[in-house]
Symmetry: C2
């Protein structure tokens, strides 16, 4: 399918819609939009033009213009993704929602926040906290990522064990369809059985079906008490195997996170500070929260006992700031050591994590490559940073697919999936084709074709409808 080109006339039209200063075509202004957080140059591409609409109406007009001229569109939030989903790999117009960054309303009585998509998750969290309420979505990149991006990618994060992922917080969205029509799906109501839940189809569709221009998010009561525990194990399997035991004991933690010893050592270098038991330790971080200190104390004792039964070297109430700084530094620490690395994002049944991680360390030995594991063991989601280190780009590009092939064959044999929270984007679109059940893949293609018949809304990401991807 041949796509239209972004001509000088199109750029003039875009300027008429959003104003001249909000259409970027200069190299220095385009540069930040040429990549997301994936540092491999293979997943970078200079955009031809970036447009920054300020309202839903402007988004709609921009989209209609592109639609009428068969021009590829790439919706973009903060660009903090890890799958090259918001990069203009196949050219066209990047539509950035960064100027749409206001909270529309905090409706305390209905416990809903209505926001534009370009506000950072942290700013939204702060705003509702001030009203005594709590937004439970919590991706690690909360300080910089946008809420619209969270919804478009169904961002996961740390609190999923208790509160679920972003999807579970969304009550409604406003979407601009690939032909520029505006539709509100869901709203300020908590049940809906009125036809197909298209809202859930758009959530996590990574900008391939439309552009999210407003979100309605569920708020809950701020938990009164919160406690972070750190359990340290010299045996990683025993560490991870603690999770189902805690949950089976009737405790629903906010989160259960883990870091393997290699990750801890790397973070220690990055932060330049000594971390507890970093010589041999693997960390399990458990956050519990609730309305009764007594209940938390009881849960704390049960977790302590279960951890020690499972061979923990140490169990302690953690310094909240310090422990989360360490956990959240995982990505940056690896990036500092090796700018180019691949972060895999597998998800498996909770009980299969120890087996998966064992196999991964065998792969690290086999390929003589650094592979650091950390992640959300309370929900089966494991991040594996595979570091390029001082390999040449050529060696790297030869080795990485082999390792990925072994990882994903393993993951699917364990009943897992390619991505728990980072999504498919462009980075994993080829892997999807290789590993996804062909029936499921074909259903996804049918949906994409039905909702984006011109294949101009972020094409080539998530679901390829053509075997040959159109390149401009």
């Amino acid at each position: 399918m041949s796509k239209g080109l972004v001509t000088a006339e199109i750029i003039e039209e875009l300027k008429k819609i959003v104003g001249e200063k909000y259409v970027y075509t200069d190299k220095d202004k385009l540069d930040p939009y040429s990549h997301d957080e994936v540092t491999d140059p293979h997943y970078m591409k200079e955009a031809q033009v970036v447009v920054l609409p300020a309202t839903t109406e402007e988004v709609s007009k921009v989209v209609k213009l592109c639609y009428d001229n068969d021009i590829v569109m790439v919706p973009r939030a903060a660009g903090t993704g890890l799958a090259a989903g918001a990069v203009a790999i196949f050219g066209g117009v990047i539509i950035s929602i960064e100027r749409m960054n206001k909270i529309v309303e905090i409706d305390k009585a209905n416990m809903v926040v209505v926001a534009e998509p370009g506000i950072t998750t942290a700013a939204l969290q702060d705003a509702v906290n001030k009203e005594g309420l709590f937004y439970a979505g919590d991706p690690c990149s909360g300080d910089s990522c946008f809420i619209g991006g969270n919804v478009a990618t169904n961002a996961g994060g740390n609190r999923a064990v208790k509160y679920g992922v972003t999807r579970d917080q969304v009550m409604g969205i406003e979407v601009v369809t690939p032909s520029g029509e505006v539709v509100q799906l869901g709203g300020k109501f908590r049940k809906n059985a009125t036809g197909y839940m298209l809202m859930h189809l758009y959530i996590g569709s990574e900008g391939t079906l439309g552009i999210i221009t407003k979100v309605y998010l569920k708020l809950v009561a701020l938990p009164k008490y919160e406690m972070d525990l750190l359990a340290v194990f010299d045996n990683l399997d025993a560490a991870i195997a603690l999770t189902p035991k805690v949950m089976n004991a009737g405790i629903t933690p906010v989160c259960v996170e883990f870091m393997d010893n290699a990750s801890i050592k790397q973070v220690e270098v990055f932060l330049n500070e000594k971390l507890q038991h970093s010589d041999v330790g693997n960390y399990i971080i458990i956050q519990i929260a609730g309305d009764s200190e007594d209940v938390l104390d009881d849960q704390c004792m049960i977790i302590d006992e279960l951890a020690r039964e499972n061979g923990a070297l140490d169990v302690l109430v953690a310094d909240k700031d310090k422990i989360w700084k360490s956990r959240k530094a995982y990505l940056e620490a690896d990036r500092q050591r090796s700018l180019v690395f691949s972060m895999e994002d597998i998800v498996v049944p909770m009980t299969e994590i120890p087996g998966a991680v064992q196999q991964i360390s065998r792969l690290a030995e086999k390929y003589d490559v650094a592979m650091h594991c950390a992640g959300h063991c309370g929900d089966g989601n494991v991040h594996i940073d595979i570091l390029k280190d001082d390999r040449t780009q050529e060696e790297w590009e030869e080795m990485l697919p082999k390792i990925q092939k072994e990882i994903y064959a393993l993951v699917y044999s364990l009943g897992g999936r390619l991505s728990g929270e980072h999504g498919i984007g462009f980075k994993r679109a080829q892997l999807m084709k290789e590993y996804m059940d062909p029936v499921e893949m074909e259903l996804m293609r049918s949906v994409k074709k039905a909702l984006d018949p011109k294949n101009i809304m972020n094409p080539g990401k998530v679901v390829d409808v053509n075997d040959e991807i159109p390149v401009q």
Copy 2:
């Protein structure tokens, strides 16, 4: 589009697949399948044939046979629906999953139950309770409805305030597509960002996109303590306005239910027993649950205080069995009085319920008709039973659409939707066309066309793809 006919040859083929005794064609055997819980004869139709497969493989073979011969299929669970979704209004083959009624596995470590779709919700709940775990889905018809029907209709129910609706409990489903292919969407993992979440599209699609043949459901810890409170008000508005106050006080109840005075009086007649304050009372039933009796006691005191501030006549710890028997008798009580009645299922933002209920009593006066309101005020979902009483069928069919028109115009003006939990089925398909945003409607049509291109999977339900519905 002309559909194929269920010929004698087709019936022979069906018998070969599932066995002769599981293909019903005799009138007495077909009769129970000619309706669901909707008692209006307008929504009943004798099926031509009912087939009862025992396995996914048999379902797939039956579906392939129908697909190859362009025969309409109507998937059916327990037939406890309230929207005529599982009735063969347009002929064809009813595929009942009632024989697929086993629990496949209770996976305690991963806190997942895997079940066939034909087990009753109550049987599934009991089975997991015995393992010390809790399945939170809880439609009022739990004793008789099937879990597969719950998932296919995204059943709501009583515990949605704290635990969400059926959708929120589902981790995975196995689906047979309209062409007979089998696909597993989701599974025993708690996060998934691997392409479009088709699982969420099938959940609540009321058998119009495929047949659910297996479900993976999330289990949680059994709450240690539970308490049911009854607050009685002579003013219905004040009663309902209690809900946001409780939630804003930092309490997340399991449920907040209400019954208006007319409903209470009707239930009193039906149960033939005296209910508290039935002379003037409107009920608010609040269930709270948690792991600390002290916390529950505190919450109980706060609720008591808030209710009295709001003008409650009485606030008491309720006899659990008695109060829920009353609440759950709402439907049967109205049915006993007037076999034919229409149960509307509106959903609005929580704070709009009092306004909506006020308008509804005005409508009851205007049309001089009994309209009883009860429902789930914690999530904005209000049931309105409109009773035919001794009107002729002709008078009834003239009056009802007028009342519905006024109700739904009101609901949409308040930012609500047609159905909170009962779904669209055949009963509300026409209303969907009238009240749904045409852009949303067209998106739904596109999805239906993409996933059921022959329009043979429960056609004419939920989303009409043709203005003219094909009738055999």
